[in-house]
Amino acid sequence: MNIEQAISDKTLQDWIKPGYRTRNKIQELKRLFQNNAPFPHLELQNFFDEEKLAKVVHSLAKEVFLEKESDLFKFMQTHDFATSSTEELIELRKLLSSKPFLVYMEEITGIKLKEKSIDISASLYQNTDYLLPHDDQLEGRKIAFIIYLSNFEARDGGKLILYKTKGTIPREEEKTIIPQFNSFVFFKATDKSFHEVEEIMVNKQRITIGGWLHGAYHKSTLHKAREY
């Protein structure tokens, strides 16, 4: 399947706003992705069809969020949508792991992705919750993605912070992304993609859907075994 065929796909057209499906826009996103610092990433605002995303938000109310806590994080998370029986979540998972969507992502990122290979769940951060700096690198993970389902202000906390690295050591914060409903953020998962979710500092809920798109299995990426 080529990019023309991918963007003509009915499901892709139903979910992704027209402005993000033109040949010119895709070329622009490709350049931005590669040039964005501190590592390749994009923040695409108003990316999905609002009506569809609103249904997803509504359906999350039926999901169970479990407490997750370790040295690195404290927040709540659902099980992977692969085990969900909620129609809207199954549909979203199907879209994000479909051939047309992967071809679209491959075109922008230049990264070869594996069909139907996705980790996807929803997260809920409340006051004092956090995810400290880490690189997301684990076998097969190629692209980390986040769909924001809440609106935050800078003073609320909950920003996604991207770190500048020296070699593979994170040094300082270089970019922050404030959660905005219907923003789709993704970045290349490497040993340099250090990022964190800033602590929530107000009584608001930060809801996201996130996960990883996978590539072919390579032995060289098998040096870490930490999952979150």
């Binding site: 040295d71 404290k74 004092t128 956090y130 040094r171």
Partner: protein, 189 residues
């Protein structure tokens, strides 16, 4: 000369109980002693500790805290402490390597691989009026998922054996704004 260890803990009966406690734990041999210093000594040491020159140490993927040299407090090199620990642990203690730390809002340490396979940690907690919900607890964890959690408690001594065990300090959150968790952390290798 003033004793630095609370005399309650140096009575023969207490020593025997402490030795039994140290040897009796199935996992994580540990002892926690509250009011370890007589009150006058504690207040004096606390004052000196807070006057130390603390330097911020930040490595985002590993830790964030403030650290200072603790030698001027003369706690880790105190002969009475060495004798007390030697009796409880039933091994000769001559040296304790230790530093002073404080953890405030946004501080933490993460689990990472470069920790000794074996050590005995000697921790003096100087944290005043701390709440568990602020974070900052010290967690010891083994590879089977068992763990011990030490919350901030003033004038307390924690002795804990690390045998293939890792430790971290929980992230200190915004509820602790303006507060500091002071610790003297020493180790016997």
């Amino acid at each position: 000369m003033e004793h630095i260890i609370n005399p309650l803990y140096t009575k023969q009966e207490s020593i025997e109980q402490l030795q039994k406690a140290w040897n009796g734990k199935e996992i994580f041999s540990h002892i926690l002693l509250t009011k370890i210093f007589p009150q006058v000594i504690y207040k004096q040491k606390e004052k000196e500790l807070k006057k130390l020159f603390f330097k911020r140490e930040i490595r985002p993927d590993k830790y964030s805290f403030a650290q200072a040299k603790a030698s001027s407090l003369h706690i880790f090199d105190n002969k009475e402490l060495h004798a007390f620990l030697s009796t409880i642990l039933q091994r000769k203690i001559k040296n304790i390597h230790g530093e002073a730390f404080y953890f405030s809002w946004k501080d933490y340490t993460l689990l990472y691989k470069k920790q000794e396979k074996y050590a005995i940690d000697i921790i003096f907690d100087f944290t005043e009026d701390w709440k568990e919900e602020w974070g900052g607890s010290m967690i010891y964890k083994d590879n089977k998922g068992k763990y011990l959690k030490f919350m901030g408690l003033s004038n307390t001594l924690i002795i804990i054996e690390r045998k293939n065990t890792q430790k971290y300090v929980q992230y200190v959150n915004n509820l602790a704004k303006g507060k500091k968790r002071y610790l003297l952390i020493g180790k016997i290798l």
